[in-house]
Amino acid sequence: MSLSVISYPVFFVSVVAAMVLSVSLFPVQWLVLRPEWLGLIVFYWTFRAPGRFGVLVAWLLGLMLDVLESSTLGVNAFAMALIAFLVLTTHQRLRMFPLPQQCLMVFLLLGINQMTVHFADQVLGSGTPGFSYLLPALTGALVWPFVCAVLDRLNLKLG
């Protein structure tokens, strides 16, 4: 399913909301389980409007995430650009997938994003052992149907 109408205010609000959610510590106990919100948003917008949002927008958003998380500049930026690139190359197939398979793709792409960040952290000397860094990708895949439905509805209404 493709959207012919894209609402830029919805784009702006969703980006701000994703950033606020990635800074917020509301459920402190479940911090490691927090979905990779900005990754989801990049996925959604490149998926829905591949002609307008692409690698460069994703890179800029990732750069902002770098500043917010005070990680090394460029790490999240590149990882987000990677998501956008992979969505751009697969979005025509992605559209044909049923929802569970889409969720699997979300998990894969967010997982690649997290692995890239983790790898860069390891190289720069601030990595942590274990596989818990993949949890945001898992929870991200689980919330994908809701994020997608809400943003679709907003786009149709306001676009």
Binding site: M19, L25, V55, G74, L124
Partner: protein, 313 residues
């Protein structure tokens, strides 16, 4: 294909464009962006050359940080708004009592400081520099669960600079690592990339105290088995290296494990400051002008002990 085509034709004329058009060469763009990211990473991690970019972006994004920490702020505000009158009165009473205790202590210090200065003058030793402080609120902690950083509500506008020490009532908390216009970021002593030069208050043994990535544990590095350190010893900042001022309590030795055959013993310490709990912190400014020394080491111990007791109440 048929399903999507049917959907496409329902939409407006440019739908075909939106589904196939994806800007020129995403692969080329990815390469360019990867190159740019690599340059940024190297510049940031190895040369600290992009701090200005970070600071500008950080200032721009401060509303988002503020929004992100709104839930906690609201919770705190409602706690305050709905606490009963009796509780507030009790708190005022306890604060008054504490103020009295501290005032008595400070008046005692004034004479001690004068004595100390006179003695130092006699010995013509270099007079120590006093620090002035700025009170700051902790308005957030870093969203990354693996790094230990705080955000405080004082920034370049209040003359806060990189490398300044941050303390709370009980001891050293960390140092400022990034300054924005209105806020600053503080690296805590427990972060795995942080180290403080310390000495044991009792015996004067010097060592470097490293963070471990856990909030309740710090590690004392390269201390020989024979060094005079016991469990419960207070570690104060030694002032060596010039970054941290001398004499602030940093941690208390929690466990010492010496393995036969190993060159150094493994010593773990518990941070003195409330890294998880402190809401108000002090930013230390090391003054240029000579002033009375803050405290002598002996007094520092009693002061730290007293603060801890009172903070419990």
């Amino acid at each position: 294909m048929t399903v999507s085509a049917a959907l496409l034709f329902q939409t407006e004329g440019n739908a075909i464009k939106t589904i196939f058009a994806q800007g020129p060469w995403p692969g080329m763009r990815l390469m360019a962006v990867a190159l740019l990211s690599l340059v940024l990473m190297v510049a940031d991690a190895r040369f600290q050359r992009v701090d200005d970019v970070r600071s500008v972006l950080g200032t721009m994004l401060s509303p988002i940080v503020w929004l992100g920490h709104l839930p906690e702020a609201v919770g705190e505000w409602s706690d305050n708004a709905f606490s009963s009158r009796e509780e507030l009165l009790a708190e005022i009473d306890s604060l008054r009592a504490r103020l009295l205790v501290l005032e008595r202590r400070s008046s005692k210090y004034a004479t001690l400081a004068a004595d100390n200065r006179a003695l130092r003058h006699l010995e013509s030793a270099a007079s120590e520099l006093d620090e002035s402080v700025l009170v700051a609120d902790v308005i957030g902690v870093t969203p990354d669960p693996f790094s230990h950083e705080l955000i405080i509500n004082k920034g370049a506008r209040d003359n806060v600079g990189e490398g300044q020490a941050i303390i709370d009532a009980d001891g050293l908390m960390g140092q400022v690592i990034e300054v924005n216009q209105l806020t600053s970021r503080v690296l805590l002593v427990s972060d795995s990339s942080h180290g403080v030069p310390v000495k044991v208050l009792r015996s004067g043994v010097r060592a470097v105290l490293l963070g471990t990535g856990r909030k309740d544990t710090l590690q004392l590095m390269h201390v020989p088995d024979t060094a005079d350190i016991r469990e419960g010893d207070l570690l104060v900042s030694s002032g060596l290296g010039g970054r941290f001022p001398r004499g602030y309590p940093v941690a208390r030795v929690a466990s010492i494990e010496s393995r036969p055959g190993a060159a150094f013993s493994e010593i773990e310490a518990e941070p003195a400051a409330g890294l998880n709990t402190s809401d108000l912190v002090l930013v230390l400014f090391q003054n240029e002008s000579p002033a009375p020394p803050p405290t002598t080491p002996g007094d520092e111990a009693t002061k730290a002990g007293g603060m801890e007791q009172e903070a419990e109440g």
